[in-house]
Amino acid sequence: MDFEFIAEFYPMYIKAGILTLKLAFYGILISIIIGILCMATKFYKIKFLNPIVDGYVELSRNTPLLIQLFFLYYGLPKLGISLSSFSCAVIGLAFLGGSYMAESFRLGFESVKRSQLEAGLSVGLNQNQLLMYVILPQAFGVALPSISANIIFLLKETSIVSIVALADLVYVAKDIIGLYYMTDEALFMLVISYLIIILPTSLLLTWLEKRMKRARS
């Protein structure tokens, strides 16, 4: 292991790590919003949207992110829709994550008891208030373990965005291996970088889950 080499090249990894984090942040945020929207269509019983939501969930859950990204990045420009590689990656991540989040929220939504809805209606809440103040807080609590699993999953999925020419951690590692043959150092830094990103996130989410559990019981 050549630590001088690592000292020289670690800024590349920091830059790539920040890119990964930025991408994950936007992707996860949008997928949570998509998840809530999908749940809302179920709640308001919007008839014509239901099959669209179901179709979207099945389509995105049963195809790999890699192919979704390829299609977005190389396929769509042929139809005249050109996206930058960063927005491609965010859209791909949100497209994939949205369906996973939708499933989590659906699970949470179904766990809210009917009596809760009726109680909410009887104190004079309208549909929107019912969703905001009664269902979402409860659904969120139940869905949290599944949401945090999705967050970790999406963080890990960001690792393949190098195929749309984004200089993420994997891209940098592959670059260093290709250019300098510093295989051990490049892989070592790659592993450390992902540990730094994923481990604290995972611990934080576990802690949050425990707190929520205690708060509810």
């Binding site: 859950r61 195809t63 790999p64 890699l66 192919i67 390829f70 299609f71 540990l195 995972s202």
Partner: protein
């Protein structure tokens, strides 16, 4: 169609590693569900180590790192097979452990009161009982593994995505729309394979869960 050949490579990796995962996972799951805290924690730590890294990082480690460290040449295909098998075995292990620990204790007790020994208890009583609970999760893992095999293109295995790219390169001057159709086609190819599997998993969950 040439994509068929690529698809077979993708499925080969999936199927071989799935078979290894099922048998390895069953064995490891039984091991992990044992009362021995030491064994449990070793398995748990291994599982977390496998889980915390993205699969592509594992592929890199085995394809670039291990082959160099040991001074032997591991083909990209072998490396993917190895990574997916190890990943599958540990994921499967956790599913099996979950299923076994969910079995009521009196099943163990009544089996041992019949005079069965430990191996017999597992083979004749516990594993058949656990089967129902682990199948939905296992089927789900299967479709996850098939989807994830798409990333082996990044270490240069010539599978369905790579073949697609080659076709696109060949037609780049004659057919401008090639990327759209080929990637669209592969997209639906994965969907056609994975959709029935995930539907099956959901059905089993509702019936047996």
């Amino acid at each position: 169609m040439r994509l068929g050949g690529g698809l077979i490579v993708s499925l080969e990796i999936s199927i071989i590693s799935i078979v290894i995962s099922v048998f390895g996972g069953l064995f490891m799951g039984v091991l992990m569900s044992s009362k021995n805290k030491f064994i449990y924690w070793i398995c748990k730590i291994c599982l977390e180590i496998v889980r915390i890294m993205p699969t592509i990082v594992w592929l890199f480690i085995f394809y670039f790192g291990v082959s160099r460290a040991l001074g032997l040449h591991i083909s990209a295909f072998a490396a993917s097979l190895l990574v997916f098998s190890v990943w599958g075995v540990f994921e499967m292990m956790d599913i099996v452990r979950g299923a076994i620990t969910s079995i009521p204790k009196h099943q163990f007790e009544s089996a041992s009161s019949l005079g069965l020994n430990k191996a017999q208890i597992y083979i004749y009583v516990i594993i058949p009982l656990a089967m129902r609970r682990l199948v939905p999760g296992a089927v789900n893992l299967l479709s996850r593994m098939i989807k994830t095999t798409s990333i082996v293109v990044l270490i240069g295995v010539v599978e369905v995505v790579k073949v697609g790219q080659q076709i696109i390169e060949n037609h780049v001057f004659t057919n401008n729309m090639a990327p759209f159709w080929i990637y669209g086609f592969i997209f639906f190819l994965y969907f056609i394979i994975c959709y029935p599997i995930s539907k099956l998993s959901k059905r089993l969950e509702e019936r047996w869960g």
